[in-house]
């Protein structure tokens, strides 16, 4: 109770300093390095000089401020007494000036009653600096000049001494001389004996090698160094529990162990631990005050702030997210300006004055100050100076601790980007130098492409460039020349290519036209020859008829001549003329008949001509049909080509690593073409193109609820709302899920030492069964208002699987090869099976499908306790998972094979379909997505596979995202699936390319450019046609 009265009074109090070192007045909170101060002081007493060495984050400054200095005040150095004055300074860019400022600040702090004017302050500063620069005895002279130091011992503590080596590396003569003079000042102050001056340095041990530049300093360090030992586990424990006890709080032992484990053995994790503890304490105080509830600091508080691994990153992100979009970009530049990468994987600070930062980032100081302030407000202190110092042009901006560079992922990336950027610049500078000397040539792709991208992306300023090399002008000119030369080369190439293309097109057109004309002429000629042949036949027939008519006419002429002769004769025979006339009339009638016959033949010729016309029409129709077929085939061919292009784009997208925007563009166009040209909707390449593009733009997109991670071995989702998970800690968590987000979560089971390997919930969310690795299992009444938990024990063996039967009764398969029925709190043997059943499912109220360790799939009648059908014979496989749906049974085994058994109306199966795409791993879980006719599996190889049952011959979609074993899967709805993974994260994956495409569109910052279109799609074949509406992207910009 005392705790809360105390906390309510001083909720500002926090016994953990976070990233900053412990202060002189915080020694009562400083634990874990007891006795080490004495060792440091022994060295200091003996040599009047000590160099405290240690890697980043080992607590050098804290040891000094909260260990050594308070002990010093206590009079530990016998011969010196307890009358001490302490001056602290950091070398920075201008070490001697900074030391002078240290003296000046000390003078002003010791004369508080006297108000120093700005002019006086400036005079003091310049005077002290002049004295220090005048001779190597400058420090002793300053001691004597400062009256308030008389008779007292002076300890000068130089923090972050390694800065002196860093600035030396800049190579300017001024810095070289300054560093040497600074070190001589220190050495001289230690050597002299007239004044009681003691010097203490703290320096990162990885800079020890740099000391060899100064032989005398090296000798001094050899005599008087103190290497901070790494803390053992007990000392680290004290670091946690000591301040908690001082703050009158209590911390659970398991959290202490977790903190120690999370922290690991790296010595540089101490500031990260301190920061996590500071945040945990604050969270605990706030939650305790809210609840007015007596509780100790435990997992709930620790996990809420993200743990050791996440806390610092989140804290920094909080500040970052408070900035608007423009400020975020400037913020990135600021952090890049104040950090640098020394060697592989090792970032160091680069404290920089505000005015210099303004020049580097090319912004006004008034724009930068509010951004920096966000990172140094009370309780944050991620940047220095602290919040109580107002910033001005000369304020040196620095990060509180190197650990921030290691832990804040955003800064880590920035540091890496800055390093890459500097490398690119330096390479360019070298190339530009070589080019100027005639030793090198202009750059071409890919180097040129990278360099241009670097320039466009980073927009380097002169001030920025001067940090690394002074050849900025030369670099920019070199780059422009390279770019222009390459552009010209490209243009020439393009011109030539266009010419070639035009020529090819012309030839193609001519040849094409000639071919078409030839076909038409051929057809016309063929038609004409047919008509001609027919006309020839008719003409021949007519000719024959005419010959016949001529013959007949000749005959008639002969007859007429005969008749004439006869008439002549008749003249003489008058009585015969009438008969001759009658004969002539008869012949005339015959000639009329002949004319009629000729007319009929003419009619017949007309009919033949009509038939020829019909034949011609038919041939025309065939030609049109052939044309349509040709167009169709062209369309099919176009479809194949575009689908092929779609797949190529998706594969390229998956291979693209560096340019996330390009990756996204390739994926979305792959998807779009596949959709437009009716590609396979479950295409693995298309899906994975989208999948990885989304992941690249939003790495946490697939982490369920975008919340802190939880451990998952088994999960169940029921009633479209309740998600239950269990994992490595043995706890069972319940989540209420709405619209893909968890609105509420709680721990419903947590027993120490109980390992829950799997959980099962009935469809009405009334009972949850939790199986352990022993004979015990727990039944939790999750549907009751007051939740109760019952424990039951199997008579022999341990359980593998549970299936609910008749609402809340269930069947449970046991390692003793018996399936028990659990009803009304009692276990009864239901089926005796001579094998172990690892998975089973109900087909209906009376039929149960089982898969066993001999590879057999069997359907049992539960009531009759008889075998209904054995679907396959025993083999050397082991069935690990079974699912029922879409009138099918699907099974997954230890060889990675998924087999589907379609059922008839009697629930019998005659056929077996082995699905493609297996790879020898264990199929841990299976489920049907009935709405989309899919079967989905998870495996120990870390994959999820989705087969489209409409086309069982096709390969499945592979989701390789999880990376580690996927222990369980559960459908959220027809479009999303939960995956519980061995790496302790449960994820939510869309199982529909369309959803991924929509998500990707919402994340994409830009559309395809014309140049990218030409390069990856080809303007000659597909005209430039970006898919986004302009206003979609305008919002993003």
């Amino acid at each position: 109770m005392n705790k809360f009265s105390h906390l309510n009074k001083s909720s500002d109090f926090n016994p953990f300093p976070g990233l900053r070192p412990f202060g002189v007045d915080e020694s009562y909170l400083y634990f874990g390095r007891e006795g080490q101060s004495d060792e440091v002081l022994s060295i200091l007493e003996k040599n009047r000089f000590v160099n405290i060495l240690g890697s980043s984050g080992t607590g050098k400054s804290s040891l000094m401020f909260s260990g050594v200095i308070p002990t010093l005040y206590g009079g530990f150095i016998d011969k010196a007494g307890n009358n001490w004055e302490i001056i602290t300074a950091k070398p920075g860019l201008d070490p001697i000036k900074n030391l002078a400022i240290g003296f000046k600040n000390h003078l002003e702090a010791n004369n508080r009653e006297r108000k120093f004017s700005e002019v006086e302050s400036l005079i003091n500063n310049n005077l002290f600096e002049a004295i220090l620069k005048k001779s190597t005895k400058g420090i002793a002279e300053l001691y004597q000049l400062n009256q308030h130091l008389k008779g007292k011992n002076l300890l000068i503590y130089l923090d972050q001494f390694e800065e002196i080596f860093r600035f030396r590396k800049l190579g300017e003569l001024y810095h070289l001389n300054e560093s040497l003079a600074y070190i001589n000042l220190i050495l001289q102050a230690v050597e002299q004996t007239e004044t009681p001056i003691y010097i203490a340095l703290s320096m990162r041990s990885d800079f020890l090698g740099d000391c060899e530049q100064f032989p005398e300093l090296t000798n001094k360090i050899n005599d008087s160094h103190y290497l901070i030992p790494q803390m053992n586990r007990d000392q680290k424990k004290l670091v946690i529990t000591g301040p908690v006890a001082v703050g009158e709080g209590q911390i659970s032992n398991r959290l202490v162990q977790r903190l120690l484990n999370d922290m690991g053995d790296r010595p540089d994790q101490l500031p990260v631990l301190q920061h996590a503890l500071m945040r945990t304490w604050n969270y605990w105080i706030n939650s305790s005050n809210e609840n007015t509830n007596d509780e100790i600091i435990d997992f709930i508080h620790y996990e809420a702030i993200g743990g050791v691994n996440e806390a610092l990153s989140r804290h920094a992100d909080e500040a970052f997210y408070e900035l608007d979009e423009t400020q975020k970009i400037i913020c990135e530049k600021i952090f890049k300006a104040i950090t640098e990468k020394r060697t592989e994987g090792d970032g160091i600070r680069r404290p920089t004055p505000l005015h210099a930062i303004a020049q580097i980032v090319d912004e006004e100081e008034s724009t930068i100050i509010p951004i920096i302030d966000k990172f140094r407000i009370k309780g944050r202190a991620l940047l220095t100076p602290r919040e109580n110092f107002a910033l001005n042009s000369n304020s040196v901006i620095d990060i509180s601790h190197e650990a921030l560079m290691r832990v804040w992922y955003r800064l880590r990336n920035w540091v890496q980007e800055e390093s890459d950027s500097a490398q690119t610049y330096l390479r360019l500078a070298t190339a530009a130098g070589n080019y100027q000397q005639g030793n090198g040539s202009l750059w071409r792709p890919p180097d040129l492409q990278l360099a241009v991208e670097w320039r466009n992306k980073t927009k380097p300023t002169l001030k920025w460039a001067l940090q690394y090399d002074n050849a900025f002008e030369a670099v920019i000119t070199f780059l422009e020349r390279s770019e222009n030369a390459y552009k010209k080369e490209l243009e020439t190439k393009e011109l030539l290519q266009k010419k070639r293309l035009r020529r090819s097109k012309l030839i193609a057109y001519i040849l094409g036209s000639a071919a078409v004309l030839s076909i038409i002429l051929l057809f016309f000629a063929y038609n004409q020859s047919k008509i001609a042949e027919r006309q020839k036949v008719i003409a021949e027939e007519n000719s024959l008829e005419a010959e016949r008519s001529a013959k007949k006419a000749q005959d008639n002429q002969i007859i007429a001549e005969q008749q004439k002769t006869e008439a002549n004769r008749a003249a003489r025979r008058a009585n015969l003329e009438k008969q001759n006339a009658e004969n002539n009339a008869f012949i005339a009638e015959q000639q009329t008949d002949t004319a009629k016959a000729a007319n009929a033949r003419a009619q017949q010729s007309l009919k033949l001509a009509e038939a020829a016309q019909l034949e011609s029409d038919r041939l025309n129709e065939n030609l049109a049909k052939n044309n349509r077929q040709l167009i169709f085939e062209q369309e099919v061919s176009e479809g194949y080509r575009m689908r092929n292009l779609a797949q190529k784009l998706s594969v390229k997208s998956q291979q693209e690593i560096e340019d996330k925007e390009l990756k996204a563009i390739q994926a979305i166009y792959g998807y779009t073409f596949n959709e437009e040209y009716a590609g396979y909707d479950s295409d693995n390449d298309i899906y994975n193109g989208l999948f990885y593009a989304v992941k690249a733009l939003d790495p946490k997109y697939y982490d369920a609820f975008r919340s802190n991670s939880v451990d998952v071995r088994s999960l169940q989702f029921v009633k479209n709302k309740y998600l239950y998970t269990t994992g490595t800690s043995g706890r069972i968590n319940s989540w209420e899920v709405e619209n893909k987000n968890s609105t509420k979560s709680m721990v419903i089971f947590d027993k120490e030492g109980v390992f829950i390997k799997s959980i099962y919930v009935d469809e009405n969310n009334q009972k949850l069964v939790a199986l352990t690795d022993g004979p015990d299992f727990y039944v939790i009444n999750v549907g009751d208002r007051i939740r109760t938990t019952e424990i039951y024990t199997l008579p022999k063996g341990y359980a593998f699987d549970v299936v609910f039967h008749n609402k809340t009764d269930f069947l449970i398969s046991s390692s003793d090869s018996i399936i028990y029925q659990f009803k009304d709190g009692r276990l009864n043997p239901q089926l005796k099976i001579n094998s172990r059943i690892y998975d089973m499912e109900l087909l209906n109220n009376n039929q149960l499908v089982t898969g066993n360790n001999r590879g057999e799939i069997e359907i049992w009648n539960i009531k009759e306790k008889t075998l209904h059908q054995k679907l396959n014979e025993a083999n050397n496989k082991i069935i690990h998972s079974i699912a029922v749906g879409n009138n099918m049974i699907a099974t997954g085994d230890n060889s990675g094979l998924v087999t589907v058994y379609p059922l008839n109306k009697d629930n019998k199966s005659q056929t077996t379909i082995n699905l493609k795409g297996t790879d020898g791993e264990i199929m841990t879980d299976l489920t049907f997505n009935e709405a989309k006719n899919q079967v989905i599996s998870s495996s120990t190889k870390g994959t999820i596979r989705l087969w489209n049952l409409k086309n069982v011959e096709e390969f499945p979609i592979f989701i390789n995202g999880p990376g580690s074993w996927v222990n369980a899967i559960a459908l959220l709805n027809e479009s999303y699936i939960f995956a519980g993974c061995k790496d302790q994260i449960f994820r939510l994956y869309p199982i529909d390319s369309e959803i991924l495409a929509d998500a990707l569109k919402s994340l994409m910052p830009r559309d395809i450019t014309r140049e990218e279109w030409d390069r990856y799609i080809g303007n000659d074949e597909v005209p430039f046609n970006p898919i986004f509406e302009k206003d979609v992207l305008v919002d993003k910009l």
């Binding site: 390992f755 390692s815 360790n853 495996s939 120990t940």
Partner: protein, 345 residues
């Protein structure tokens, strides 16, 4: 000779080949575990577990095998593998939050407590004398200035520890212990300027049989305890060595007289109680132990038929020593090395 040399070289090569082959198998098996290819693991490890693995590799392999069996529903084989691991490395521990929970859960189910310890002891003691009845009187010259001096000596032996309950153990200890003390008289004969000083050093060799109960905090690395019980002692031998010093202004003379046995004047058996404070601490798979404590022997050591007339014939038969009745309190510090024995099941 050359043939023999060739054969030896061949055998060494084969052995090295088998070893590197097994090392590769172990790496393959670990890789299989990470990629979920669990059923391939037992086949890769079985032969090498019989021959080919070093001890460290065997530990790794059995751990991997245990995890594999646990994840393919074969808990019985998993337990068998873990017990084999424990037999190779008896102090192996699965730790919560570090080892996989299924391994930790199985480990908790196995009885990993030592069944008994057998250990060797070495140590030193500081023997103090308490007079229970004084027989020295004024007839003995210098009786007013006699004193008993405590002396340091040593003990060695063995012990058997039986952990009866988690925090309550029983212990039996047999040690050979030498107990020493000094007896000194001054100014026995004081002529003009001459002082004579008699010193006797007592050596008592015997065997102690200690039975103790031990209340112990059963931590893994440190096991602090309080031990209390009864002691029986069998005295093997008891002798005296005597010195005579004559000091005067002109002379300074030491005389050493041969040892003489006191067995006939000492009890052969004695009983006592003891209490110790100490801690066991882990040394690799075994436990060291350090303790300090005290034993109090209750019976008087002197044993005379005629209790009154106990003046001894000593230097010059001058009767300078009268043996008082006394018992003793011994302060001891002991170090021991204990080997634990298990029955993992």
């Amino acid at each position: 000779m050359n043939k023999l040399f060739t054969i030896i070289l061949l055998l060494i090569n084969i052995s090295l080949f088998a070893q590197s082959n097994c090392e590769r198998n172990l790496q393959d098996a670990k890789s299989d575990y990470n990629t979920g290819n669990l059923y391939a693991i037992p086949g890769k490890l079985t032969d090498c577990l019989e021959e080919g693995f070093t001890k460290e590799e065997k530990i790794d392999a059995y751990r991997l095998l245990t995890l594999t069996y646990l994840n393919i529903n074969q808990n019985e084989k998993a337990k068998e593998s873990l017990i084999k691991l424990l037999n190779i490395k008896t102090d192996y521990r699965a730790l919560p939050n570090i080892d996989p929970p299924e391994l930790y859960s199985l480990y908790r189910k196995i009885d990993t407590d030592p069944k008994y310890f057998i250990g060797a002891i070495v140590g030193g003691n500081f023997n103090t004398i308490q007079i229970t009845e004084e027989f020295t009187n004024e007839s003995v010259p210098g009786a007013h200035d006699l004193k008993y001096n405590s002396k340091i000596s040593y003990q060695v032996g063995g012990q058997f520890i039986l952990p009866l309950l988690k925090n309550f153990w029983l212990k039996g200890e047999a040690i050979y212990q030498v107990q020493r003390y000094g007896f000194e008289l001054n100014n026995i004969i004081a002529e003009d300027g001459v002082y004579t000083n008699y010193t006797y050093n007592s050596n008592n060799n015997g065997i102690n049989l200690n039975l103790s109960a031990r209340s112990i905090l059963n931590n893994y690395y440190w096991k602090p305890f309080v031990e209390y019980g009864i002691s029986g002692r069998y005295n093997i031998n008891h002798d005296f060595r005597q010195y005579k010093s004559i000091n005067s202004k002109s002379t300074d003379e030491d005389v050493i007289v041969p040892d003489f046995k006191m067995n006939e004047f000492r009890k052969q058996f004695n009983v006592g109680i003891h209490v110790n404070l100490g801690s066991m601490f882990k040394i690799k798979e075994n436990y060291g132990e350090v303790k300090i404590g005290a034993s109090k022997f209750l019976l008087a050591h002197a044993d005379y038929i005629d209790k009154i007339h106990r003046q001894l014939n000593t230097i010059g038969a001058q009767g300078e020593l009268i043996d008082n009745d006394y018992n003793n309190l011994i302060y001891q510090v002991s170090f021991s090395f204990n080997i634990p024995f298990f029955n993992f099941k």
